[in-house]
Symmetry: C2
Subunit: 269 residues, 2 copies
């Protein structure tokens, strides 16, 4: 089921600025028995991203009601797309433009099922992410870099591709954030120039802090990941996954993924 501005509909206006310019933001979240998981963080991130693009964030109660209307009864995924609405041709937005709010449900993908393997295989992508501080961190609708990076492989055994920016600094996965552990500390890329600062990343950083694990946000080169004790990816749908293999490099479990998986799910915020 799809709701567009609260009404059942499978379509949006052909003049929508989300289509014309990618002028909007989105969220992908898990639901359980019709309720969104990690909602406080999801809504906070949506509000932050809306503010960055000067979009009006939808009312929280309205959004929650729409999520429970569309969500699967068991485990599922809900996607929220918010655009600057439809308007006249041209990049300038009109005063008083009404946002388009799309809420749609999708089944839980196989790799997100509770019994899916915790270990995944990843690769390095050739595409380098452009550095744009005005859009960095935001989950906006301009995702051609992700599409191009994802098109670099079609081997279903490869779950994720890792990306660097155009100066060679590691940013994260095509659809996930990256963490690695080394000598008792946790690391994740700094995202002020590109990448998406996802909700799972925020929650992992908070969970680590609460447990007294030192977590560093760093600008690192690929060598740092290759030298790690354990490498992990995370997002709101898959949770935490251990990267068991990255191109020709493989790792044995060092215990971090299990610790963080528990931390992520125990954190009740």
């Amino acid at each position: 089921m799809i709701l567009v501005n609260g009404q059942r509909s499978d379509t949006v206006s052909a003049l929508d600025r989300g289509l014309a310019y990618g002028d909007g933001v989105f969220r992908t979240l898990r639901t359980h028995a019709g309720q969104p998981l990690w909602w406080r963080d999801q809504y906070a991130k949506l509000a932050t991203d809306c503010a960055a693009l000067a979009l009006a964030c939808p009312d929280e109660a309205e959004l929650l009601a729409e999520i429970s209307r569309v969500a699967e009864t068991g485990e599922g995924v809900v996607k929220i797309i918010l655009t600057r609405g439809s308007g006249a041709r041209g990049y300038a937005s009109q005063q008083g433009q009404t946002c388009t709010r799309i809420v749609l449900a999708a089944p839980l993908p196989p790799h997100a099922l509770p019994d899916a393997a915790v270990d995944v295989t990843a690769r390095w992508c050739r595409l380098r992410l452009a550095r744009q501080p005005r859009l960095a961190g935001i989950k906006h609708l301009n995702r051609l870099e992700n599409v191009l990076a994802r098109s670099e492989w079609d081997d279903p055994a490869i779950f994720e591709g890792l990306l660097c920016d155009d100066s060679g600094v590691v940013i994260g996965g095509v659809m996930s954030n990256l963490f690695w552990a080394k000598e008792g500390e946790l690391f994740t890329p700094e995202l002020s120039l590109c990448g998406v600062a996802g909700v799972a990343r925020t929650r992992l950083l908070r969970a680590a802090m609460r447990r007294g694990i030192r977590a560093r946000i760093e600008r690192s080169l690929p060598d740092a990941i290759l030298a790690a004790d354990e490498v992990m990816i995370c997002n709101s749908v898959i949770g935490v996954r251990r990267v068991a293999r990255l191109d020709d490099v493989s790792w044995s479990p060092a215990g971090w993924t299990d610790t963080l998986k528990t931390a992520l799910n125990d954190d009740l915020d």
Copy 2:
């Protein structure tokens, strides 16, 4: 009137990848008596942009037929949007996905009417364009940088904003390409790292060459524009316009705009 895959419709699927990821390209062109202007160049550019994103370019005859169905009887504007179609959630595209083809008409904007002033006022934008060679030159649907840049001003007296990349090199206008003249030569920014290489720019470069005017494609700093004899912007809807004022700097006409305007319209390709 709007045609979606050849059928009259005001809407597209809420699952379209053009909306989800900006996964597509577009063209904006002028029409006269139902016929597209500069069609050979417009279709060639559409085909080039499709190839860059591995999209199937629509058949030329089909597209021409759709343009004449939607176009205004007098002067008008037609926009073509082409996306990778609708599909399952996720950045990976499915085999055999069918593109979505949207053809829509819009009236000629006031600034494109034959009696509109040739002189315009422009400003420098604060936003710096990110450098992404994989997307540079392509008129794709990821246009948040243009939206953000255009939101920097709302003074209707300012027609266009000029943009530099994050190294300070001049790229062009928010909705136009930039030319300037200095000591008998014509200059336009090099666009291999960012910007859109528009059809009016291609035609101006060709027209200059045919008339024995030396045209240089350069990486230049704003100082070069400020020191120019004449500054111009161009696109397929407005043709060529002289920048009479750029923030606090103003220029008297030096004859280049009239020459290039004639060249652009005389060129029959």
